[in-house]
């Protein structure tokens, strides 16, 4: 799929891709920078001409926290981790929800993780 000028808000498509375990990204046709599909102008060169790119939702934990005092809606899920991960191939970072992590020993930095879905908890991750 190649769109010369991408859709202004691609969140529905981004969510569909995450549900399939992938990240919808955009590759700038001018400078090749890869960006998440939720941006509209390239941060490197300012262009808005992109090709849609599907990135595989596997990568490693960059940092995380274990939430024990959660915001509303997450009470039943604590303790869980909120994770910043870096995708394997592109170096793109995304963040999401990773359930059932009681202690830091359960999730050392660089633990391999993958995207498994998208729901009311945003991007959902699991340990590989």
């Amino acid at each position: 799929m190649c769109l010369k000028v991408c859709k202004l808000s691609a969140k529905p498509e981004f969510i569909e891709a995450a549900k399939a375990g992938n990240i919808l990204a955009r590759k700038c046709t001018k400078c090749s920078e890869i960006l998440l599909a939720t941006v509209y102008y390239c941060r490197s060169c300012g262009s808005k001409e992109f090709e849609d790119t599907i990135l595989k939702g596997t990568g490693k934990v960059v940092t995380y926290t274990i939430m024990t005092v959660p915001p509303a809606g997450f009470e039943e899920l604590a303790p869980y981790a909120w994770v910043v991960m870096e995708l394997d191939d592109s170096g793109i970072r995304v963040s999401g929800f990773l359930g059932k992590i009681p202690t830091p020993e359960d999730l050392p930095i660089e633990t391999p993780v993958k995207i498994t879905g998208f729901d009311e908890r945003g991007i959902v991750l699991e340990k590989l």
Partner: protein, 386 residues
């Protein structure tokens, strides 16, 4: 461009903490404090800048006209500014720009917040709306969670411990004990911090600032107006703002806040100084790790050495650089819309001999740094005594 020299002429604050009065009442109380401290009449005010985030939680937005009416100057124009926890400094900056440009001789800058009546769970939830919600709040990250993620990255990357971070809280409580308006006026120990409940690992309850109510206000004016009214004023010699990727995932490094560096560089350049010239700083310590990162981003310490400096006491009152002599957000409290203005009140009091037991000795130059969310937006200001 020729700019007017801009001065802080007076400052007032309510106590920070759990307050019973309504948001419009505390906003008025702080404003009256600033007006009386400046020795001016309300009718001399030409515009009002009100910073606030969650007025809706106390059934009052559009606070400006309410405050102006109660000051007897309903005809005076006003506006409200929201930039999450950085609202106060953004509002101050906009007021600064307008006085510097010559639009106004004197303006009122008041920051205010009233949230404690909503309870911890709802406050945590409301605050999460300040994040890049699609990637952060929606996925269960609270603000302690976002800063905890930065703390884990910092502890992983540098030679620092959770006890080092705790030393920031201990120091700020030491200073807050000396501040009659502080929210948490209690001495604490490293053990108290380490043994407090985990909120979002590795951050514990005592690594986190409290949710506070409170309001702070200053009068900002040109130097001619200041000289005509009082000898107690300080000059604003530098002002800078900056931005960062809204979500942590968009930042190349998680142990630095880009907007602080951008804002500080601009403020130092305007002031014609470097970090070495700063005698004390009121910085944004919403969490212990934030003060460590701030102290590096502002240029007081090399990258990765801020935690050690805190542990060694360099940032204590009258240490090599006094950081948060007021007690900071940690002990003085964090009424989010008021915080950035409250920092200016502290600098004004420090540089005009009104800060009592917590006075930084022989201080000439003070700095404020206040950011929104995880530092997605930031403002830095530099002040000089006259």
């Amino acid at each position: 461009m020729e700019r007017e020299s801009v001065c802080v002429l007076g400052g007032g604050s309510t106590k920070y903490g759990k307050l019973d009065d309504s948001i419009s009442d505390i906003t008025l109380q702080a404003s009256v404090g600033a007006i009386e401290s400046a020795g001016i009449e309300p009718k001399e005010i030409e515009a009002g800048y009100i910073s606030n985030v969650f007025g809706v939680a106390d059934k009052q937005v559009h606070l400006g006209p309410v405050v102006m009416s109660n000051l007897g100057i309903s005809e005076c124009p006003s506006l409200s500014i929201e930039s999450a926890c950085g609202s106060g400094s953004v509002s101050f900056r906009e007021a600064f720009a307008n006085v510097a440009a010559g639009f106004y001789d004197a303006v009122l800058v008041t920051g205010t917040e009233k949230v404690t009546h909503t309870g911890t769970d709802w406050t945590t939830t409301y605050f999460s709306y300040c994040s890049d919600f699609f990637y952060e709040g929606q996925a269960g990250a609270s603000f302690p969670g976002l800063f905890a993620s930065m703390a884990r990255a910092y502890l992983h990357e540098f030679n620092a411990t959770e006890e080092d971070l705790a030393s920031v809280a201990v120091k700020n409580h030491e200073n807050g004990v000396l501040n009659p308006k502080a929210h948490l006026r209690k001495k604490i120990s490293i053990d108290d911090v380490m043994n407090s409940a985990v909120v979002a690992s590795p951050l514990k309850l005592y690594d986190c600032c409290p949710f506070s109510d409170g309001a702070s206000s200053v009068i900002l004016c040109n130097e001619k107006f200041a000289k005509e009214h009082s000898k107690d004023y300080v000059k604003v010699i530098g002002s800078g703002r900056g931005g960062s990727p809204a979500a942590l995932q968009g930042r190349e490094q998680l142990t630095t806040i880009p907007s602080t560096k951008i804002a500080a560089a601009a403020a130092y350049k305007m002031a014609g100084i470097t970090a070495k010239d700063v005698d004390f700083a009121e910085v944004h310590d919403c969490f212990t790790v934030a003060e460590v990162v701030d102290s590096e981003d502002l240029g007081f310490f090399e990258k990765g050495t801020g935690a050690t400096a805190a542990r060694n006491g360099e940032t204590k009152l009258n240490g090599s650089i006094s950081i948060n002599p007021s007690g900071g957000l940690k002990s003085k409290g964090h009424p989010i819309g008021a915080t950035g203005v409250g920092q200016v009140v502290e600098v004004y009091e420090q540089l005009t001999g009104k800060s009592g037991e917590r006075t930084v000795n022989d201080a000439k130059i003070g700095l404020t740094q206040n950011f929104g969310a995880t530092g997605a937006s930031c403002a830095v200001h530099v002040f000089e005594s006259v």
